[in-house]
């Protein structure tokens, strides 16, 4: 495939996710404005951090003056999943220069990472594909979050339009793309229950870590009968 075809494939894959992220970005900007952040500050947070879940949690924690330690700690916990995500996607990035890897991963988010993982199941993930997917997604998040901060309160309660649920629906749809039968069913059940429990008992941001780790543990256990020839004897 030429780089143009690769770029077109990237755009084709990202646009539904980018569209679903529009109300999320507006909502984020409006919430941040409600905590006293200026549109310029919202723009800077989005361009520097670019992590939806962590940014929502940060706005939840925001106070004046900013509690820097709590904000950085919460961000690190929520984004700890990126360590596993980058370890998983990095070997599938084909033909990337060092600069393209280190630049490209700066804006790795759940959506573009999940789409790249999906792409990797049938095609090599090329730089043209990756950047065609990432650039519009980043521009969309910058535009919508800043716009949300400007129009802020004028949007009204986003719950009335169900906009707050778009994120949840999108992630469920993305999960279906990774379905591999029984092992995935156990993974989803364990991750969902552990995350919801941790959210109730310990509060955010612990639910992300608890859910992800329990999901992996469930996959490990459920896949037990797959390992006829155990290469390494598991200590657990």
């Amino acid at each position: 495939m030429s780089w143009k075809d690769e770029a077109r494939a990237g755009l084709n894959d990202i646009w539904p996710a980018a569209l679903a992220a529009v109300p999320i970005g507006l909502l984020f900007g409006a919430l941040a404005a409600g905590k006293g952040l200026s549109p310029l500050e919202v723009f800077l947070m989005s361009v520097l951090v670019f992590a939806g879940g962590a940014q929502f949690a940060a706005v939840e924690l925001w106070a004046s003056p900013a509690p820097i330690f709590a904000l950085v700690f919460s961000t690190a916990l929520i984004n700890a999943r990126h360590i596993l995500m980058s370890a998983s996607i990095a070997p599938k990035l084909k033909g990337f220069s060092k600069a393209q890897i280190f630049g490209g991963l700066y804006y790795m988010a759940d959506e573009n990472w999940a789409l790249a993982e999906k792409r990797a199941r049938s095609h090599p993930v090329t730089p043209a594909y990756w950047f065609a997917m990432v650039v519009p997604f980043v521009l969309g998040w910058l535009t919508t979050s800043t716009t949300g901060a400007i129009i802020g309160a004028a949007l009204g309660d986003p719950k009335r339009y169900g906009a707050d649920f778009a994120f949840t629906a999108l992630f469920i749809a993305l999960t279906a793309a990774f379905w591999k039968g029984r092992v995935t069913a156990w993974t989803v059940a364990a991750a969902g229950i552990a995350s919801a429990l941790a959210y109730k008992l310990a509060g955010p941001p612990w639910h992300v870590l608890a859910g992800a780790l329990c999901g992996l543990a469930a996959a490990w256990i459920a896949a037990g009968d797959l390992a006829e020839t155990p290469v390494e004897s598991p200590a657990e």
């Binding site: 690190a76 990126h82 596993l84 995500m85 629906a169 990774f178 991750a191």
Partner: protein, 99 residues
Amino acid sequence: MSLDPINLAAFLGMALVTYLTRIAGLALVGRLNLSARAQAAFDAIPPAVLIAVIAPSALATGWPETVAALVCGLAAMRLPLLGVVAVGVATVVALRMVA
């Protein structure tokens, strides 16, 4: 347009830890010699992460959200990404009117 220096420091701290998590995985690549079982756990990273992020919204908010999440799960077997989002949002709006 105001920019508070303490806020800027917070953004930079958040950006730094986020970027570190995004490149930390590079250090793991090639060091993992995975058994079939560990490979299955590794393959489970995408669904485990996605579900862990949204579980509170789906399971710990109220019954309309939980039912809408189940509807999304069913819709996801048939519909493309945006179709699932449309069905999910429409369902949650309708159920919230009843709730």
